[in-house]
Amino acid sequence: MKNLLEHTGIAPGRLHFSWISSAESTKFVDVVKKITEEVKALEPALNYAKTEPKVN
């Protein structure tokens, strides 16, 4: 999944995967914090965002 998205031009570092048990609240917080930091460090991704529908 990650490979093809990055292959088609989604910048590496935007897509993250993790396996967190419902009992691992601290891991959840850690992962979310880390992802937020890493994604914030990248430029805003504007290309895969739909603004207004294209009308021909």
Binding site: N3, L4, E6, T8, I10, N47, P53, K54
Partner: protein
């Protein structure tokens, strides 16, 4: 490849006469040159309608999904791999099928041929390694290797992997071809260049879903693109919707695609839709050593869990 047509007709007539199958699926000549049509033959008398040449690019495995009767099916290398995939996925039973194997030397890309001549092609003759196209005021002989479909040019499974009958001697498999050369070229680009490459690739897509319809893997009763509650993907021509469609279509083929090229052959806009699935094929090969449809004895990698499955993308 000359003589395949007679052999296919002979086998089809025999199977139907002996009552071994209820129908034979093959190709008949299309109404337009270089566009053969899938065809059902249900009586020995109809067997003469079947043909075989270098324009049988569609994948006949697409037509056996969930069939209940006994079927004889003409299958080149890639079709046979899709039959294996169908059997593994319980879409048809092995004992319902009589597979008429066709060793294949590649199918011709119609658009490449059309680009080489001016004017409309009205007739096509074929020898073993060349085709001669002619129309109003012109006639041209083209080497088959120059106009092969891109997936056929890098194919390393030309002979059927399962078969009950064979129409000819197995052909030599290609060696030394890099099946993933086109993927590697894109991999070398920067994220922005990659984005633009695919933006350009699918810019002409008209969302006709011919690629999905031609694909033997796409057999869901209701496809995600047709579903409206919930609506998984926007139905408009918006580039984001188009890209989402192509990405999702590709993911549905992960670990199952045999690179038969039916999607590209069917595309009326000449979009290289294989660029998406090919990347997944490459990943599957590199991560799991897997090529789809080669054996009935192994489950596909996305079907099973192994403790040594690559997981370095999970943290």
């Amino acid at each position: 490849m000359t003589g395949y047509t007679e052999k296919i007709r002979e086998i089809a007539a025999r199977l139907l006469t002996e009552g071994k199958v209820d129908r034979v699926i093959g190709f008949r000549k299309g109404t337009v040159p270089m566009m053969n049509q899938p065809h059902y033959v249900t009586s020995p008398a109809m067997a003469g309608e079947l043909i075989w040449d270098s324009h049988c690019g569609l994948n006949l495995a697409n037509y056996v999904t969930d069939r209940k009767e006994r079927i004889g099916i003409v299958a080149k290398g890639c079709d046979s791999r899709n039959l294996v995939t169908h059997i593994i996925e319980n879409k048809i039973k092995r004992d319902q099928l009589v597979i008429i194997g066709v060793p294949c030397t590649g199918m011709v890309d119609r658009s490449k041929v059309c680009a080489l001549v001016e004017g409309e092609i009205t007739s096509v003759e074929e020898s073993d390694d060349a085709i001669t196209v002619s129309g109003n005021g012109f006639s041209k002989t083209i080497a088959k290797t120059d106009v092969l479909r891109e997936n056929c040019a890098v194919c390393t499974h030309r002979n059927p992997v399962i078969h009950d009958e064979m129409v000819g001697e197995p052909v030599a498999e290609q060696t030394g071809v890099d099946a993933y050369a086109s993927v590697k070229k894109v991999e070398a680009l920067s994220p922005e260049e990659k984005w633009n490459y695919f933006e350009d690739l699918i810019s002409t897509c008209i969302r006709c879903y011919a690629c999905r319809n031609a694909c033997p893997l796409c057999y869901c009763p209701t496809c995600f693109v047709d579903e409206s509650r919930p609506q998984w993907v926007g139905k408009s021509q918006d580039p984001i919707d188009v890209r989402t469609f192509h990405l999702l279509r590709a993911y549905h083929c992960a670990g199952r695609c045999t690179d038969c090229g039916a999607c590209e052959t069917a595309c009326p806009m000449g979009i290289k839709v294989r660029e998406f699935t090919k990347k997944l094929n490459k990943d599957c090969f590199e991560l799991y050593g897997w090529e789809a449809g080669l054996t009935l004895d192994k489950r596909p990698p996305l079907d099973v869990y192994k403790t040594d499955d690559p997981d370095d993308f999970i943290r």
